[in-house]
Subunit: 417 residues, 2 copies
């Protein structure tokens, strides 16, 4: 007995094999500055998926795909009517992104399955290492995971953020269809849980000099388009006091929003990512400024309080400069809480591996959100140098990547045996 326990406790992923796969993958869509360019269903992305399929087939694992284009390596435990523990991330990238975001998670999941297979460990559930379609939202956002979880809103396919024409053309390139997308849903009882390893995309781990971050929650994101509406006037002939200048409301709002969140919501963030001026000419007083606003919190109550304060600031700023305000809500996504048992198993795995760990929230969205309420979800982060994210500057030391893969392996063993 002791021997058997020591065997699986001592099991580690194959660093060389995983590194070789990681580096090979990074050649698909490689950019001259060390990043990758693999937007969903681009040629680079489809080539990476084709390569992944070949690696799965070479490894002796079963290759699976579904109507949403999700690509998987499948390791059956040989038992009937048992659910599957999903491990995954995504191979698509933002335009000119980095080589770690998503790719590390898929390569680690694949390596975990190969390690478990090679060790011939007897599990109670099947394992599946999955590459989800369009996590980054080039077309829809969390597309593959939402389809698999069975709650892909059909209107997201009709009015996708990336444009309907691009979605239709992309699905055609990938050999997918809308009916297929909607057919990818799996029965709840077939899914045992979902685990993901990802780079942090921030610098809390680096600053604290900690090996692993165990995610407690993925933040909720609320977003708005706020339109400050004044009047277009000749900027030479209209006196300053006669103007209804939309830029003033937008500018005052941007400053007030930051002050409020910095002062009263220290663990939350707000972003004014864009202002679109109409008509936008040097010599015309701005008639309308559309502000792209989003704010994030892992605490729904804080989201509600920020919402109230920020919209109040917008109304005050509009009033002060004689402007109208149009408020368009673009989404109120609740935070996703990670499973507490999975968090504690991650912590035990870290402890056994001699790795330091802290609990933190994820400020970015991830596929795990799609499984909210469907199955237990867990997520770990490894440090990102300088917190770089969605950038060719993304970098995580290989030792940290390997630590993450071994925590994932040990956690799978604890949960699946």
């Amino acid at each position: 007995m002791d021997t058997a326990i020591n065997t699986w406790h001592d099991l580690r992923v194959n660093s060389e094999r995983m590194l070789a796969a990681f580096n090979e993958l990074a050649r698909f869509g490689a950019t001259s500055d060390g990043g990758v360019n693999r937007p969903t269903f681009s040629e680079n992305h489809l080539a990476a998926r084709q390569w992944f399929q070949e690696q799965i087939e070479k490894s002796g694992l079963e290759f699976r795909t579904d109507g949403a284009g999700n690509h998987s390596a499948f390791l059956s435990c040989g038992k009937d009517n048992v659910p599957t523990l999903l491990l995954g991330s995504h191979l698509d990238s933002v335009p000119n992104g980095g080589r770690f975001d998503g790719a590390l998670g898929v390569m680690a999941a694949f390596e975990v399955l190969r390690t478990v297979k090679d060790a011939k460990i007897d599990l109670e559930v099947n394992l599946e290492a999955i590459d989800f379609t369009d996590e980054e939202g080039t077309l829809v956002g969390l597309l593959g995971s939402a389809a698999l979880a069975g709650h892909l809103p059909p209107d997201h396919l009709q009015n996708p953020r990336g444009g309907r024409e691009n979605l239709v053309a992309g699905m055609a390139r990938a050999g997918l269809s809308e009916e297929g997308m909607l057919s990818a849903a799996r029965p709840q009882e077939s899914v045992a849980g979902y685990l993901e390893l990802h780079i942090e995309q921030g610098k809390r781990l680096e600053s604290a000099n900690v090996d692993v971050g165990i995610v407690s929650a993925i933040v909720g994101i609320w977003s708005y388009r706020l339109s400050f509406i004044g009047r277009a006037d000749h900027a030479g002939t209209t006196t300053m006091v006669d103007r209804l200048d939309a830029s003033l409301g937008a500018s005052e709002f941007a400053l007030a929003a930051r002050d409020t969140v910095i002062n009263d919501f220290r663990d939350c963030v707000v972003n004014v990512g864009n202002m679109n001026f109409s008509p936008g000419a040097f010599n015309i007083v701005p008639a309308q400024v559309d502000v792209s606003l989003e704010f994030r919190s892992s605490d729904e109550d804080k989201s509600k309080r920020m919402d109230s304060l920020l919209l109040g600031h917008a109304r005050e700023a509009a009033k002060r400069f004689g402007l109208e305000l149009n408020v368009e809500s673009l989404g109120k996504h609740s935070p996703s809480l990670m499973d507490s048992h999975v968090q504690s198993v991650f912590a035990s795995s870290c402890d056994d591996l001699g790795l330091t760990h802290i609990s933190l929230t994820s400020g970015a969205g991830h596929d795990g959100q799609s499984f909210d309420g469907l199955c237990p979800v867990g997520m770990i982060f490894v440090p990102s140098k300088d917190g770089a994210s969605h950038s060719p500057r993304e970098f995580t030391k290989w030792e940290d990547c390997l630590n993450g893969a071994n925590v994932l392996l040990q956690t799978v063993l604890r949960l699946a045996m």
Copy 2:
């Protein structure tokens, strides 16, 4: 002698004839909301010019055109080696502009020539009613008048604000060439002066209930592109205090610029007409915001003081938020002073016609600026309802239009006899 003097003192333009021409002209490019759409060298604009040529030929005046496409009615005084007094404005409009801006000045100038011709008045100079090419700057700005005055900078044709391709295509439609543009320059001794009637494009005359504004100066315009440069970061994973958010510098600058001009430069104006955000996404901290800035004054010293204060505010705003600032000067145009003798003759003409008048500056640019230093320039304004400008809402009562035309006529007679 008394009879002759009374004859020209009592001379008035033909209201019905001028109104008919004004209304016919407004049909070219007419929009459903009562405005006109005649950007330079558009089909609507070229059709209006063709119509103007036909009206000139029908009237028995001489039609002239030049290499810059300026269209004129010419009335020779029959004497050799005498200069020409120019009266004019422009038939082009901003996109979806109003029917008064430019059109009134050309139709009034044309009517003045017809009235003088019909009255067979003996003048010492020739008269020319001219429609200048591209006053509004769809392609270059003050193009025809600058070409005529002989100081069209060749690089304005190489890098026109409306885009080189549009300029080349437009010149081709109008049958013009670059060589022709540069050949339109006239000898200084051939130009006796330039007079223009225009709508005010502001509401000072309407508010003061005054008939005529005599322009003392056309303001100088200084313009910049200010780039606040921070760093693109993930807006979910980067803490508020770790950000270098370019929107904050731009916003603080916009508010400070307005405060400074309202408080310390009461007769000047400033405009932040556009902010261009990069990358401009909801979920990315703005890395760069390019601000379109212009400010205007009829006093060069005030322009210099505003310049110093505004750039100081930009530097402070950048510094406060840890941003870099890039300052690109796009032009420093000095104010154009109107001729003092012409101003006093305008005033005498108003007095004789029983019209009230005030002196004011023009906050907008006009073709008269092109003649700075070349010949005496004078300009009068008539009231604009609600100060509407560059808008289908432009409106000036016909009585005011007629007053302006008669002041122009009487001033021409006083200067040209």
